[in-house]
Point group: C2
Chain length 549, copies 2
Amino acid sequence: MSATPGVGDYGPYFPGSRKIYREGARRDLRVPFRRIELGHMRGQDGTIRRHPPVEVYDTSGPHCDPAVEVDPREGLPELRADWIREREAGGAVTQREWALRGVITPEMEFAAIRENEAGEGAAEGREVQHPGEDFGAGIPARVSAEFVRREIAAGRAVLPASRRHPESEPMVIGRAFRTKINANLGNSAGRSSLEEEVEKMRWSTLWGADTVMDLSTGEAIPDTREAILRNSPVPVGTVPIYEALRRAGDDPAGLDWPLFRDVLREQAEQGVDYMTLHAGVRRDTLPSALRRRTGIVSRGGSILARWIQLRGKENFIYEHFDEVCALMREYDVAFSLGDGLRPGCLADANDEAQFAELRTLGELTRTAWNRGCQVMIEGPGHVPLHRIAENMERELEDCFEAPFYTLGPLVTDIGAGYDHVNSAIGGSVMAWHGAAMLCYVTPKEHLGLPDRDDVREGVVVHRMAAHAADLARGIPGAQVRDNAISAARYDFRWRDVINLCLDPERARRFRYGGDSAAEEEEVDVRYCSMCGEQFCSMRMSRRVAEEDS
Amino acid sequence: MSATPGVGDYGPYFPGSRKIYREGARRDLRVPFRRIELGHMRGQDGTIRRHPPVEVYDTSGPHCDPAVEVDPREGLPELRADWIREREAGGAVTQREWALRGVITPEMEFAAIRENEAGEGAAEGREVQHPGEDFGAGIPARVSAEFVRREIAAGRAVLPASRRHPESEPMVIGRAFRTKINANLGNSAGRSSLEEEVEKMRWSTLWGADTVMDLSTGEAIPDTREAILRNSPVPVGTVPIYEALRRAGDDPAGLDWPLFRDVLREQAEQGVDYMTLHAGVRRDTLPSALRRRTGIVSRGGSILARWIQLRGKENFIYEHFDEVCALMREYDVAFSLGDGLRPGCLADANDEAQFAELRTLGELTRTAWNRGCQVMIEGPGHVPLHRIAENMERELEDCFEAPFYTLGPLVTDIGAGYDHVNSAIGGSVMAWHGAAMLCYVTPKEHLGLPDRDDVREGVVVHRMAAHAADLARGIPGAQVRDNAISAARYDFRWRDVINLCLDPERARRFRYGGDSAAEEEEVDVRYCSMCGEQFCSMRMSRRVAEEDS
C-alpha cells in the first residue's frame, strides 16, 4: 500500500467522473452517485450529438468528494448522527423494528434512492433491456423507500447500520436489490499495519466494495477496527470469535461465554455493523463434518468445533443465542449467521453437514427476527456449477428468504492463482439465482495475503459478476451502462468507452500503454486500431448501414 | 515473446510433471498425457502413504517431450502420415465418411483414449464425483473409439484433422466429450512477426489450448500459417476471407468467388484443419442486422455484408456452397460455420438477425453433411447470463446438434480489461449447457493485441471455465484432479497442491514469491502460513478429527 488513491476525487482511476448527490425528503439526506460525463460527437453532417451522462452507484464515500476534507485520524463526517439521535426513546431500535412498525427511516430512504442507479430516465437506451428471470425475487420497476421498508420487515432484506457507526452511507442487501459485494481486510499474525488496513478499505470501496469485513487476527485488533470504522463509508463486518481466541491466549479451551460476550459488546460499542457468528456449528453435526474430505475449513467453525470437543458441551453461541440477540438488537448489529461447516472442496459440497447446519441457521433466523434483529445467512464455499441453484433454493426455504451472502462459490478446486475468476463464475450464477451479496475472492486465495493489486482485481471481477447477475435477474436500468458503452464503441468514442468501463484506468493503460499522443490521435479516428482500418468490422458495418439508408 | 518455453519438457511451468504415453491398438498410436507425480506423506505413526500420480489431458505435443528434438524450421514429426497414406484409395476421405461406413480410424481411437483422462482407475478419489446434469449430451461412462465414431457419424462431433496436417495429434470436439478451448493467434497490419506467432502457438498449447486459429491479416499470411501448421500439435483453424480481402487489395468490391476459391484451396493444401466460413450472412438478413445497436461486429461478416451491398448479389460463399463442400471434403477440412451476424453487445443478443443466420447455418450443415463434410457452428458473442441456455437450445435444434463453438459469451459489455473473466463466466455456463468448444478471450479484448502474459491468462481461465463445465455436465473422472488437490491441501502437502493447479508456476510464485527457503521449510509444516498456526482451520479440523477417532 503506497499512495493514497482518490484524495479529493476519484484520482486517476475514473477519468471523466465526478461525485454528485441526489437529495431525499430531508436536506441532510444526500445520496451519492458517480456521474460519468460522456463526450459529444460531431456527425459527418457537422451536427453535434450530445450524450447524457451515466450515473452509477458509488461506494467510495466522502473520500472521493473534493468538497470534503477527510483527516483519517478524525474520521468521516457523521452523516447519520442526527437520524440516530432523533430515533432515541422511540421504543424501537433496529431497522427491522422500525420497519415492522411501518416507519420509513432516513436510512431506508437513502438506500432506496441509491438503488435507482440509472436515475429518472435521463440516460439513453434506458428502454432497451432484456426482461430478467428473477426466480421469485420480486424486483420492482422502481425501488421506493416503502419497498425497502417492506423487504426489511419481511426479513428478505438487511440494512446493516449500527447505531455506533454514524459515518456509514446506508445500503440494503436483499435479492430484490442490486447484488452487493464484500471485500475482506484484516491482518494476520505479524503482517500488515493499521494504516495499511485503512488504506485497503478505501481502496476496496473506491473500486466498488459495498461492505468490508475486518478479519484481523493479529496485533492491535481493536485499534485497527476503530480506524477502519471511523473512516469507512460502508458497513463493516467482523468475526468476533477471532478476537475472542486471541484473548483466550490462542487456546480454544480458554474460550467461554462471558469472554465472548465481552468481545461482542466491545465490538458493538465500536460500531461494527454486522457480525459473523458461527452459531450453527453444533455438537451433533460435528461427526459428519469431520468425516469429510477437507473437514472444516471455516476458521470460526474449526475453533468452535475444537471448543465443543474439549469441553464436551454444546456451542456456547447457540446456547446463549437469546443473550446474543439482546446485544445485537441494542446496537442494531445485523447477524451474519456463519456457515462454519461450509464445504472446502467440491467433494464436500451440498452434503449432510452443510445442509444440517443450514437448517439450524433457519431456526436461529426465526429467533433473531422475533427479537427484532436483522439477519443474513452465509453460504459456500466450493460448489460445482450445476449444484449452485440447489444451494440457493434450500437457503430460501430453510432460512425463510433471509438474504444469502456467499463466498463465491468456487466451481473447481484447481484454480489457485485464478480463484477470483473461479469465484466470479460461481458467484454470478449464485447471485442470479438469488444471492444478495458476494464475498470477493482475490487471486491470492488459498496462497497468501492479497496486496493492493489483488484487492482491486478481486473487487472489480466481483463487481462484474454482480452486474452480470443484476442483468440476469432484471434489475431495472442495469443495462443502461452496457448500452451506453456499446453505443460509444460503435461511434468510436474511445474516451467514453474507457470511462464507462468497470476499471477505466486499466482499460486506458491496456489500450495506450501510457502513450498519450496515441490517445489524443485516436479521438478522431473512425476505426479501431486493433484490426486496422481495412479490417475494422464496425467501420465497415457503419459504412454499409449509412449507404443503405 | 522472448524465451522458448517447454523445450524438451514443461520447463519451469509444470514442476513434478512429465509426459507419458498410453498405447492404442497399433504401435504407432501413442497418446500423450501429462503425469503429475505426487509426494509421499509420512503419517504421525511413521508410516508412509503413497499417492498415485494424476494424469491429465495434454495439448502441448512433442514440444514438451524431452525424447523428441524439435527444430522449428523442420516442424514436428508426421504422426499421422502412415494413417493417412493407408486410407488413400479407400473411397472415403473424411472422418465423417469413414464413420458413416462404420470404420474406426486411428484418429478416432487416439481421440477416444485421450478423453479418458483419469485413466483406468489408478487415481485416488475416482469414485467421488457429483452426478452431472448434461441436458441430453449423452456422456458415456468411458469413451470408446466406437463411441467417437458414432458421434462423428451422427454429426454430433467433429474431429478436425486435415489430410495435409499429419503433425497434429487427433482430438474430438462434441458435447459428449471434454470441453475444448481455442486460442487465437495472428498478426494484424504491421504487428508481430512470424516467429512470434509460432511461439504464441507453442505457448498457448503449453497452457492447454486444444486448437489454435491463425487470424493473420497482416504481411506474409501464407508463410506465417505454414510455420504454425508445421509446428502445431493441435488442429489449426483460419478465416480465409481475411487473406482473400488482402489479395483483393483490401477492397471488398474486389472479392469474388474465383479469388476466394483459390484462397480456400491454397489454405487447404497447406493443411488447415478447419475454416470459418461466413456463409450465413445473406442479403435478406442484412437490413435487420444493420438496424442494431452495434451492427455487424464479425470482421468476416462485415466484409461480406459490404460485398453484398456493393455487388447487389447474394453472398458468394452461400451461392457456391456445393463447390465449397467439394473442396472441404477433398482435404477433410472441417467447416466452422461463422456467425457473421453475432451480437456485439447485450442489446443485440438473441435478436432476429442472429437467429435467422443460425437457421441458415442449420440448412448449410445438412448440405455439408450430405457431402461428407464435418461441421461445427460458431456462436456468440455477447449474451446476458439468463439467455445463454436459449442460445444453446436453439443451436441444438436449428443445427441438428452439430457442435457449438462459442466466443465466450461475454455476459456484460462493461468489462474491458477483464473480458477474459467476463468470457469465463458466460463460457462456463454455455459449455455446461452443451457448447463443445470455447474460443478464449484475453484481458486485452476490445483494447489491443494480447501479449504473452495475456495469452496465458486467457488460456488458463478458459481451461478453468471448461473444467467447471465438465464437472457440471458430469464428464467421468473430471473431479479426480479436484479431489487430489483437496486431499493434498488437507494434508498440507503444499508441493502437491501447487503441482496440481492449472498454473503451478503462478501458484508457486504467489505463495513463495521466489523465496525457495520458505518453500523448503513449508514442506514439513502442518498448517497454512496464511492464517498462522493458531488460526489454521484445517490444522484445527484435523486435530479435532484425530482426537475424535
